[in-house]
């Protein structure tokens, strides 16, 4: 019996040490990306190319989802608010939910599943087909040439995509509440304008999207670069990118929200 306990404790110890080691390794990798970003900054064309793949190609899913989320918010908001005779506040409800929470979080989740997974799979496959090693043998650092441009492209595109998501959502809410149901257009927009605060709502939302952008892209490039060079390894890494990003987004969202909106009415 005591032997089993010892083995059990040892197992826990191994897991803890392994996780801490992996966390430290990831931190080291992250600082390497920052250190070697000089090349990508000097040759901005490298980042622009990746911006197309991570940003532009993700736009369709972001815009369509934003529209539908906004439309659903308009419908649900109207249903509840009209019971209290406050249906003109539906604009405020749509805008606040989008700018503060849904914009950054849902856009982040979509970004992780569309762009994050693609980054991981691409870098993982480059590793599996020896392209990264070949680059190293040509005296070109793969972190500077492959990883850093993708990282910065993700960091730049995430806030822009979230902003588009929110804008499209507000438009969706407008379509349903004003055009379809017939809420007064003037009060829809004016209430939104007077209640949504630039500093507390919009800037805080932007901060969230930037933090999510760094987190998602860092996870995606890390998982891709460290994927075992097999089909199974790359598929596992891609799944891990999506799952870990989703958990990190939701966790970080709670932490950031509790700091940002503490005591704000």
């Amino acid at each position: 019996m005591p032997r089993r306990i010892v083995i059990g404790i040892r197992g826990i110890g191994h897991r803890v040490i392994d996780s801490v080691w992996r966390l430290g390794y990831a931190a080291r990798f992250f600082s390497l990306i920052l250190l070697k970003s000089g090349t990508s900054m000097r040759r901005f064309g490298l980042i622009i190319r990746e911006l197309y793949f991570t940003g532009v190609l993700t736009m369709v899913i972001i815009l369509v989802s934003g529209l539908f989320v906004g439309m659903v918010l308009g419908l649900q908001g109207y249903e509840t608010l009209q019971k209290f005779g406050a249906e003109t506040a539906v604009g405020t409800l749509v805008a606040l939910s989008l700018v503060r929470e849904l914009g950054p979080v849902v856009a982040g989740l979509l970004f992780a599943s569309r762009a994050g997974s693609a980054i991981t799979a691409e870098i993982g496959l480059m590793k599996a087909t020896e392209q990264l090693e070949a680059m190293g043998m040509m005296a070109v650092d793969p972190i500077a040439r492959v990883v850093a441009p993708r990282f910065w492209a993700g960091v730049i595109s995430m806030p822009l995509l979230a902003a588009m998501f929110s804008a499209m959502g507000v438009f969706g809410g407008y379509l349903v509440a004003v055009v379809l149901i017939g809420v007064d257009e003037g009060s829809f927009w004016s209430q939104m304008q007077s209640v949504v605060d630039f500093r507390f709502d919009i800037v805080n939302g932007i901060i969230k999207t930037c933090v999510f952008g760094v987190a998602i892209t860092a996870i995606a490039v890390f998982e891709g670069y460290n994927a075992p060079p097999t089909a199974e390894g790359v598929s596992g890494a891609t799944t891990r990118t999506v799952v870990t990003s989703a958990l990190v987004i939701l966790g970080l969202d709670f932490v950031l929200t509790s700091f940002m909106f503490r005591g704000v009415g």
Binding site: E122, L125, M126, T129, E130, Q131, E133, A134, M135, G136, M137, M138, A139, V140, D141, R145
Partner: protein, 270 residues
């Protein structure tokens, strides 16, 4: 012209997770020659190339390339040494997001400030040397295995290296592509005055084109010599290898219990 060898390997040992892969290897590779390293799959041939390229460090001993001990070089010095050598990977390892032209131009753009018009001419010259000038617009996914290997060969000679290493250049090729690649390796080595190290298990093709052969078996050099010497060799290992015999010093069976024990025959008889 210097007479000292380009690559010198001395008492090289390499272990992976305490499993010895290479044990006490000594090799000398003179400039301007094509040298083959042969041996069965998994005998440590590719590891040897990685050691020469400085991708991994030896457990003991050293590899000297151009009078520099590779594993003692700083990262910057290693990278500047690597600019003078290149490696052809088993399946080409072409960058799949770049066209054939951009693949060959990759190193020129990364390491030189040459104007685009000069790069264009150089790339066409390299592609012409491997017979694929007409394919410069294709993407790697559109190439056959043999063509991809030829593009990779053009890319590896892009900056006129002093040393090119080939990891299984003949693997998975049809007989025509095989001769094409073999001839190209010999011709380019002679024309550019570089040194070629070939890791392969294709005996017939490589014996036609190389100057010297090393056989590695179980981490040690089992035999060495010029192609005509190894053809005449009486060493049982070399004989088995060159004549593709099923059984010999390299056994057909993976080490196992006695056959009778596994089939539980001994107990039944008793």
């Amino acid at each position: 012209m210097t007479t000292n060898p380009l690559v010198e390997i001395k008492d090289l040992n390499f272990s992976y997770d305490e499993r010895a892969i290479l044990k006490g290897i000594n090799m000398t590779m003179p400039r301007g020659k094509v040298i083959a390293i042969m041996g069965g799959s998994g005998c440590g041939k590719t590891t040897l190339l990685r050691l020469i390229g400085g991708v991994v460090a030896p457990s003991s001993g050293y590899v000297k390339v151009d009078n520099q001990i590779v594993h003692e070089l700083s990262r910057n010095k290693l990278f500047s040494l690597r600019r003078k050598m290149s490696m052809l990977f088993q399946f080409g390892a072409l960058f799949t997001d770049l066209s054939v032209f951009d693949n060959v131009a990759f190193q020129m753009r990364e390491h030189t400030d040459l104007p685009e018009s000069v790069i264009r001419d150089l790339v066409f010259m390299k592609l012409h040397a491997v017979g694929l000038r007409g394919a410069h617009n294709l993407m790697p996914a559109e190439l056959s295995g043999g063509m991809a290997r030829r593009v990779a060969l053009a890319r590896s000679i892009a900056l006129d290296p002093m040393l090119v290493m080939y990891d299984e250049p003949f693997a998975g090729l049809d007989p025509i592509s095989l001769s094409v690649i073999g001839n190209l390796i010999r011709r380019l080595t002679d024309a550019l005055g570089m040194t070629s190290i070939l890791v392969t298990h294709d005996v017939h093709q490589s014996l036609k084109i190389v100057d010297y052969v090393y056989f590695i078996s179980e981490g040690v050099i089992a035999a060495e010599g010029t192609p005509s010497e190894v053809r005449e060799s009486v060493s049982p290992f070399v004989h088995q290898f060159i004549h593709s015999e099923v059984d010999g010093p390299v056994p057909f069976h993976y080490p196992a219990e006695k056959y009778a024990t596994d089939l539980n025959l001994e107990n039944r008889i008793a």
